[in-house]
Symmetry: C2
Subunit: 227 residues, 2 copies
DNA sequence: CTCGAGGCAATTGTCGACAATCGAGTTGAC
DNA sequence: GTCAACTCGATTGTCGACAATTGCCTCGAG
């Protein structure tokens, strides 16, 4: 049993907060294997706290679908099944499509400048790294985050950033091999930004939906080949 | 301080489950006024349990945005602001639009028969009750539930039914006066079902989005007139 | 040998008490 | 008279112990 170092730097208010963040990181990054069964007592010892705050952290993780609890039985790390990932992509298509539509009318000029600068940085970086996907992948997340926030719709932001994206990031860490075609994705990003700049909500939504839909189809094809 | 009767009938597994359901009902139905500050000790006494299970219930309600917690300060019943309701309708438009699209291809024939029967019942009932909105409103929820489930997308169902619709029901109970134009809504429902029957996903999504979008605009107009 | 019932260990659910933190009211100085 | 600091009360956060439920293992019968 290994003791885990908690983030004391950012002095989060309560012990439950610290445990929650530490556990979420451990799950998303794969330190705790998907499907593994974990006991409350073990975890409490490992994180150096009592079972009270730990249970609170677990409840929050459960509401984010990162762990699964069954009463009187125990806790399992969320198992990532492929069909669940596909389902998530339909949610993303609907929600981020709407985010792009709203962003086209609600983004400020400086926000659009910011996302253009981000793309410019990607272009240089991508020219260097070609297909080394890691940085591109984080950059991809950054791009989507900016558009989501650009919607200026609090409920939408909270839903996507606060609840859904942790699950998606977990899948990315685990199934790291899905080549998400950086060059093509980059071109699609460019077109979406053009639509935002033109304040064309209809077009922005359509392009975003195609972007996510083709990413989903790409994954589905990979799954068919190597299940 | 009034003792609250808990549902002992359906013998829910844990005390936390019972408190959660009772509290959720109390909030959605307005027994606990929005924005009111409540103390853990009071609630624990009122529901005849300890603070442990109560805190678990509060955690779950927080993740559904029915209560707001600030550390070391306390709990407030979620205050329903009008702009938040509008934001929710954009989520509904995106998600239920997608649900309708998926339902058009994934609904079974018997599910479609069921929703047609539901509409037929509404037609007779509506002819009788004209604009008495209550039953129509519950029927409206039933209609939407069926299409959501018809998507056969677990993540989408869980998100809409398990997380979003409780907030929407809360608003319905509070702002009960929004005449949601039963006749027009009924016609729109009919057309959506026609699209489902024709297995036309594009059309079903478009009609559902218009349906929800016009409901939102209707609310926005009411808010402008009587803020 | 297989199946079912019963007991046992382990884990979770629940409780009450203690400690930490925040907000309000009061008191004092400028 | 106003502002700031301090004290006090109340509320939440945390802990450890006890009770309840589950799953597994053993034992016995067919």
């Amino acid at each position: 049993m290994q003791q885990v170092e908690l983030d004391e730097d950012r002095n989060l208010r309560t012990a439950a907060d610290r445990v929650f963040e530490a556990l979420q990181d451990a799950i998303v990054r794969g330190d705790l294997k998907p499907g593994a069964r974990v006991g409350e007592t073990d975890l409490a010892l490992r994180f150096g706290t009592s079972r009270g705050p730990l249970r609170e952290a677990l409840r929050r993780l459960e509401s984010r679908h990162l762990v699964e609890r069954t009463p009187h039985v125990g806790i399992r790390i969320a198992s990532l099944e492929q069909h669940a990932l596909i389902e998530l992509y339909f949610l993303r298509e609907a929600l981020e499509g709407m985010a792009a539509r709203l962003a086209a009318t609600h983004m400020t000029d400086s926000e659009i400048e910011g996302i253009k600068a981000l793309l410019a940085a990607h272009e240089k970086d991508e020219a260097l790294k070609a297909d080394t996907a890691y940085f591109q992948r984080e950059g991809d997340l950054d791009f989507h985050y900016r558009i989501i926030h650009g919607s200026h719709n609090g409920a939408l932001i909270e839903l996507l950033v606060g609840e859904l994206y942790h699950r998606i990031r977990m899948y990315r860490y685990q199934f790291s091999a899905y080549a998400n075609r950086p060059q093509r994705a980059f071109r699609e990003h460019q077109r979406i930004v053009e639509a935002l700049e033109a304040r064309d909500g209809d077009l922005a939504e359509m392009l975003m939906r195609r972007h996510i839909s083709s990413a989903r189809q790409n994954i589905e094809n990979h799954l068919k080949e190597s299940p």
